[in-house]
């Protein structure tokens, strides 16, 4: 039974003189290695150059604001419930008059903390969120921390900066697949999928 056509017929024929002399084969080998010597290197110099990891890579968390700059989170606690590592904790508070430009919903998270040592970056919080408030960024990792008090990230680190808003070209897996299909068919997209400085 033939499964593939990659199989090679084994033979025990005598080697020719050229084959027994090794040298032609060694010369061929040397030619191959010297070709690689001058070939373009595949290494990406990591800390200076970072590879584009795709639109749905799960990096560090961000608490999104809406178009008017109001926090989207309503402190429903669904992310904390969904979290398999129990990394998220929050304290809810009621919005008072005059804070409508700060919080979109009537209830908001006064404290929102993610324990970065517990987090496994599974993205279940993202999926659980009914307000599209919490996301895992595709472009930034959690930086290395060396102190205990750097482990738990509060709202100061998590809430989006309106001057430097977080965007990505695909927010869901379906959109990412559509994007891939677009790229495959040769349409130009705004992000080139290779190493970015």
């Amino acid at each position: 039974m033939q499964l593939t056509n990659r199989s090679k017929q084994v033979s025990n024929k005598q080697m020719t003189l050229a084959e027994r002399a090794y040298l032609p084969a060694i010369a061929t080998g040397l030619a191959i290695t010297i070709k690689h010597f001058f070939a373009k290197k595949v290494t990406i110099q990591y800390p200076e150059v970072k590879r584009y990891l795709g639109p749905v890579f799960r990096g560090r968390h961000i608490l999104k604001r809406d178009a008017d700059g109001r926090e989207r989170c309503t402190a429903c606690g669904l992310c904390a419930v969904a979290c398999p590592a129990e990394a998220i904790s929050m304290v809810a508070a009621e919005r008072v008059k005059g804070e409508e430009n700060l919080y979109r919903e009537e209830k908001y998270a006064a404290v929102y903390e993610v324990n970065m040592l517990r987090c496994i970056f599974c993205g279940l919080c993202e999926e659980a969120c009914p307000k599209q408030a919490v996301y895992l960024r595709h472009d930034e990792f959690v930086p290395v921390f060396t102190e205990r008090d750097q482990v738990i990230w509060g709202k100061d680190l998590l809430v989006e900066d309106m001057n430097n808003r977080y965007t990505r070209e695909a927010w869901t897996k379906e959109e990412a697949r559509a994007l891939d299909a677009k790229r495959a068919s040769g349409e130009v997209t705004n992000v080139v999928p290779r190493a970015i400085p």
Binding site: L23, I26, G29, L30, I32, T33, I34, H36, F37, F38, A39, K40, K41, V42, T43, Q45
Partner: protein, 359 residues
Amino acid sequence: MTLVEFLVKTATIVAVFGLTLVIAMYSTWAERKVAGFIQDRSGPNRAGWGGLLQPLADAGKMFFKEDFIPALANKWLFIAGPSLAMLTALLASAVIPFGSTFRIAGHEVPLQGVESNIGILYVFGVVALGVYGIMVGGWASNNKFSLLGAIRAASQNISYEVAMGLSLIAILMMSSSLSLGEIVAQQHGMNWNIFYQPLGFIIFITCSFAECNRVPFDLPECETELVGGYHTEYGSMKLGFYLFAEYINMFISSAIISVLYFGGYNYPGMDFVYEQLVKSLGTEVGHNVATLIGTAVFFGKALFFVFFYMWVRWTIPRFRYDQLMNLGWKKLIPLAIFNIIITGAAVLFLKPVITAWLN
């Protein structure tokens, strides 16, 4: 021997010694760089520009590691092993002619540590002693893998020395001199021995790969069979010395190859360059500049062969032990003897005919 002569000789020897060490040091860097390039990587590039400080970092690491001697090892021989390996590796560089002569205040100073009329025999003797470094270290470790590695290295070196010596005899028959300086001087211009001795060259370079314990003949340190080979029990700078001795041997044998077969400091058109330099810069400065160019050419050739060692390392897999012995005893030695006969016949019958025809 006058004091001046003594000082000049000492300065030359120290310069040759330092140069050999620096080249061996940067060979470790080059080895990793070449390995990276051949495997489509970029190699070490963090320590200094292009990773040029990497050898210093490696040496620093080696020095600060624990200098460990196993409890049941023979302590003195354990220390003597790497020392012998370093010593024998460094000794050979003394007789290599790095260039013709420097002319300082009317005196001719040869760019060679020792101008000996048995230069090539001296190199052979010292290289043969190199086995002791490995053998003593392997035996003193009191470890069967070390001993096996050492025995392999010793038998391999001894086997290949025979073929190496035989391939050299053909060169000696042509030059009728054992002095390395004389052999180089005879290859003036483009009159290199490689054109007369291609078979001898192939035998010689194969044997020098085996003598240096380099891939494809690196059986003494075959990890899959012998853990680390003769330096299994070694750590810290003693291991560093073993590895360093290998790189020094590599440079020395590359230098010997370029001296014996590729004309050393000779290059085509050297007479024309010499005349022009002497005409424009005067007999003293012009002569010295011409010598420096020759030395640069020599180092170019020697370093190319160092590169060739590395290039081959990442191309050819290791031989099996019986294949190694078959190649050494059953192929290279008969080929070398055949080469001697051919050379002898050519020197006796062909050379007079050609000389008569040319005249």
